[in-house]
């Protein structure tokens, strides 16, 4: 029977209360003494064949009959008023089928999509759909926009002076930080400046819209097909039945692709006007100007502690540059939640700047906050004369320090121990030298959410061929969650994961499901998948019981066979399913909520070893040891790949990635991949990756998420390693050769 229940879920630091529909679930847990078959075995990616052979169709590959190409005019100014534009001249260009300007396009999530006062360089102003890209480009030139440049602010300090906030400032207090700081035996103060990091998913934001009299279909490179559907319904006043959103393959998102995006609304409006399908793919440059970034932030800490290194009080502030959108990402969460510390006063100031809207980027807020605070902690360790890992151990907490709630599981201390052993932490001072190349080693803790929760739904059907089809309400942004779902289902049905066909990424296929973000997807959908699989399993066993005249309770499904527990019967599952003819056995499952009153978090520790060339200023990350507690690992192969990818993005943040804004024009000068440096293969360090989590005893299937955790501690560990190597600390990332050489002078 279905019930509506009220649940709490933490989504990237924001607690959301939602009503969700759940089914009663009688799926048994895995017995502790029995390994759950294929779950936990390395499994190669199910959809990789299509990705490897070039046959996978990404949104940007869609080619519908009579499809038009769209392009968007963007403002070249940091802030401007559009004084004139020749839409009709563009319409007159041969091959042009639709042209829209400010006022012609519905809003996206309540915000203008095409601006007559574009508030940042790269803001969309007009859009064109034409038979070919070339015709669209020609029409673009005919638009002849005239601008009146306006004043702009791209500097954090200036916007602080003007008190222009993009989101409400967030103040957090516990205890009495001021008094405790005054009484502390040790105090340190320190500042850090984090850069804006650009997502640069390899597939840019894109959409293909097909508006027909009977409804709108949108192919979208999106992390949230259901969110995209709601946004389109809102923009165009359509009901859900008339909007279908499809995302079969997508080329990464990392937080920048929630919903349909303004590009989805523009493509749909152009398609509506032209009566033809329209494809809009952003250029790399437009991508980097308008689709989001990790917010730059200036951190200030005053930390008070006892001589034993135990934290007593922290006063901290973070000034974030949000641009023209985004929210106050939890940049001070690492201060608030990772260690025991009674007295805190934290201020987060999300400033508005004339830059594109910020967006969530893999562990938004928490990664850059960890980078800064974990370094301040190393400064404290130095002041206290303590080993940095020992300082962290001393400040360990067994309950969430901000709520007092116990954790469902926490293996942070084990992570420290294992990471230290694997990295050779105790001998780290032997790395140091006075030569040209100086080596050092540093650590950082990892904290994130990732418990998942409802809503999540799955359906399974199996027909005569004994090859189940699993339909899940979600999309796979490239993380491998599809494969993990197949693994979970395969366990219930006693088959191999590669025998499962998984259908995802289509709002018409499945009712509803989570977006891919917050490290929530697998922890949310896997229990629903298992429960659906269990229903099918139960029915198959009953069919087999009828066929073989053995009680269903004496039968099991293993290795593609129906077997009796006494070993007398072994028959392929196919022998049972073939009797189905064209009928199916079906089962549905949903996700129940996590336990109330407990904190669900992932933890970990990374240790980085670096070499700094003091002549060239070049830093090389030589080795990273990554130990994470993510509960049960469903597919170690997929998990390892996530960790590696996160670490490399963390290395990018620490060493090379930085959006540069020209203060005189207010525009971004490095929006291309030639000047904006993401790590290449040459930057790959040796990585040792381990998981310490046992299945979380309080969570469905014991699974916690892994999308964000691996990126969180990497930059902080690198910062601490560089300080260990050089004996001085760089306060601004990325640690480019220029900054290294300046610091050494």
């Amino acid at each position: 029977m279905a019930r509506l229940i009220k649940t709490e879920a933490v989504v990237e630091g924001r607690t959301e209360v939602r009503w969700t529909l759940v089914e009663e679930d009688s799926t048994p847990e895995w017995p502790a003494d029995q390994p759950p078959g294929v779950v936990g075995e390395p499994t190669t990616r199910l959809t990789a064949g299509a990705r490897l052979s070039g046959s996978a169709r990404y949104t940007s590959d869609m080619q519908l009959p009579r499809q038009l190409e769209a392009t968007v005019l963007r403002s070249p100014h940091a802030n401007a008023r559009l004084t004139s534009i020749s839409l009709d001249a563009a319409r007159a260009v041969p091959g042009v089928r639709a042209v829209i300007g400010p006022g012609d396009c519905p809003q996206f999530d309540g915000e203008a999509v095409l601006h007559d006062e574009p508030p940042y360089g790269g803001a969309a102003v007009a859009a064109i759909a034409a038979e070919t890209r070339e015709a669209a480009d020609e029409a673009m030139a005919a638009l002849d926009p005239q601008w009146e440049p306006l004043g702009f602010v791209v500097d954090l300090d200036q916007s602080l002076e003007n008190q222009t906030f993009q989101d409400d400032p967030v103040e957090y207090e516990r205890g009495d930080a001021e008094t405790a700081l005054a009484a502390a035996e040790l105090t340190i103060t320190s500042d850090y400046l984090a850069p804006a990091q650009l997502h640069n998913s390899m597939e840019p934001h894109c959409a293909v819209a097909d508006w027909r009299p009977d409804g709108l279909t949108l192919w979208s490179s999106t992390q949230g097909i259901y969110q995209a559907r709601s946004q389109l319904c809102g923009s165009f006043g359509l009901d859900q039945e008339h909007v279908r959103v499809i995302c079969h393959f997508m080329g990464g998102g990392f937080g920048s692709k929630f919903g349909c995006g303004p590009e989805g609304v523009i493509a749909a409006e152009l398609s509506r006007r032209a009566g033809r399908p329209v494809r809009l793919v952003l250029s790399r440059r437009d991508e980097n100007l308008s689709t989001g970034y990790r917010t730059p932030a200036r951190f200030s800490f005053t930390i008070g502690a006892g001589c034993d290194g135990r934290l007593q009080a922290v006063e901290a502030s973070a000034v974030m540059g949000l641009g023209t959108g985004g929210w106050a990402y939890p940049v001070l969460e690492p201060v608030k939640s990772v260690y025991a510390c009674e007295h805190q006063h934290l201020m987060t100031l999300p400033m508005r700047l004339n830059l594109g809207p910020a967006a969530a980027f893999r562990a938004p807020g928490v990664m850059e906050g960890t980078w800064a605070f974990e370094q301040a902690l190393d400064e404290l360790a130095e002041a206290a004369g303590l080993d940095p890992l020992e300082l962290r151990r001393r400040n360990h907490t067994d309950v969430d320090p901000s709520t007092g709630r116990p954790y469902t599981s926490k293996r942070l201390l084990e992570s420290y121990d294992l990471a230290a052993e694997l990295a050779g932490w105790d001998a780290r001072d032997e790395l140091r030298s006075d030569g040209r190349v100086r080596r050092g080693m540093g650590c950082a803790s990892q904290y994130w959410w990732g418990g998942g929760g409802p809503p999540a739904y799955a359906d399974v059907r199996i027909g005569s061929d004994a090859k189940p089809v699993l339909t899940v309400g979600m999309q796979d942004l490239g993380t491998g969650v599809t494969t993990a779902c197949a693994v979970v289902l395969a366990e219930r049905l006693g088959i191999r994961p590669d025998q499962v066909t998984v259908r995802t990424g289509d709002t018409d296929l499945a009712g509803h499901g989570p977006f891919s973000g917050g490290s929530m997807t697998l922890a949310s959908v896997a229990p629903a998948v298992r429960s659906a699989g269990h229903h099918v399993r139960t029915q198959l066993l009953e069919l087999a019981a009828d066929m073989f005249e053995i009680a269903a309770s004496d039968l099991e499904l293993t290795e593609g066979e129906v077997r009796s527990t006494d070993g007398t019967l072994r028959r392929p599952i196919h022998d049972v399913t073939e009797k189905l003819g064209n009928a199916w056995v079906t089962g549905s499952g949903s996700r129940a909520p996590n336990p109330d009153g407990m904190a669900v978090n992932t933890f970990g520790c990374q240790i980085a070893q670096v070499a700094v060339d003091t002549l060239t200023g070049l830093i090389t990350v030589e080795r990273v040891v990554a130990v994470h507690d993510i509960g049960r690992v469903v597919n170690p192969m997929g998990a390892r790949s996530q960790v590696l990818g996160g670490i490399l993005q963390g290395i990018g943040f620490a060493l090379s990635e930085e959006r540069v804004v020209d203060p005189t024009t207010g525009t971004v000068v490095n929006a291309g991949l030639e000047d904006y440096k993401i790590p290449t293969l040459a930057d790959l360090p040796e990585v040792e990756c381990r998981f310490v989590g046992e299945p979380d005893p309080e969570l469905a299937l014991g699974i916690k998420g892994l999308g964000e955790p691996p990126i969180i501690p990497t930059p902080g560990a690198i910062g601490n390693a560089v300080a260990h190597a050089l004996g001085l600390r760089l306060r601004e990332a990325p640690y480019t050769p220029r900054r290294v050489l300046e610091a050494l002078q």
Partner: protein, 155 residues
């Protein structure tokens, strides 16, 4: 003004009529209809569009289509065998976890094939150097290196 040309892609001839300014990537993706090669930047920065031209890897986004007239082009779709069996490199990418979202993968594979064709047993540094023009934002590269090494060892 359009010009006639014949693009020989994966062993098949495709007659096309194209403007001189068109790049090879856009013609492969639109006129020829092979969308395996991806556009990640349109500016020779990412390698997602890489194809082999007479055996040499080129960023097809920055190569004029007419210059490829009559020359042998191999795209990712041409890597697998006639029977659809994965090329050893494709299999190794799968086995070693060298794929996540897969958007960089076609270019990576072409780059790796070009490397092994000219140097059947590269060492790790040579692999890193040869593939460093192909950007991947997901995998952290290590599965890709292991995949190329695995194939090199088989040879």
């Amino acid at each position: 003004m359009r010009y006639d040309a014949t693009l020989k892609v994966n062993g098949r001839a495709y007659p096309v009529a194209i403007e001189p300014g068109r790049n090879l990537l856009s013609v492969l993706r639109s006129e020829v209809g092979l969308t395996g090669a991806k556009e990640g930047c349109d500016d020779s920065e990412c390698g997602a569009c890489m194809v082999l031209l007479d055996g040499q890897p080129v960023n097809s986004c920055s190569y004029l289509a007419l210059q490829a007239d009559g020359r042998e082009i191999v795209t990712i779709e041409g890597l697998a065998g006639e029977d659809g069996d994965l090329h050893p490199l494709q299999q190794a990418f799968l086995d070693q976890g060298g794929v996540q979202c897969g958007f960089c993968t076609p270019g990576m594979l072409i780059s790796a094939k070009a490397l092994l064709d000219r140097n059947p047993s590269p060492d790790e540094d040579e692999i890193r150097l040869a593939l460093s023009g192909n950007l991947c934002r997901c995998t952290g590269y290590s599965g890709i290196v292991r995949a190329v090494q695995a194939v090199a060892e088989q040879r």
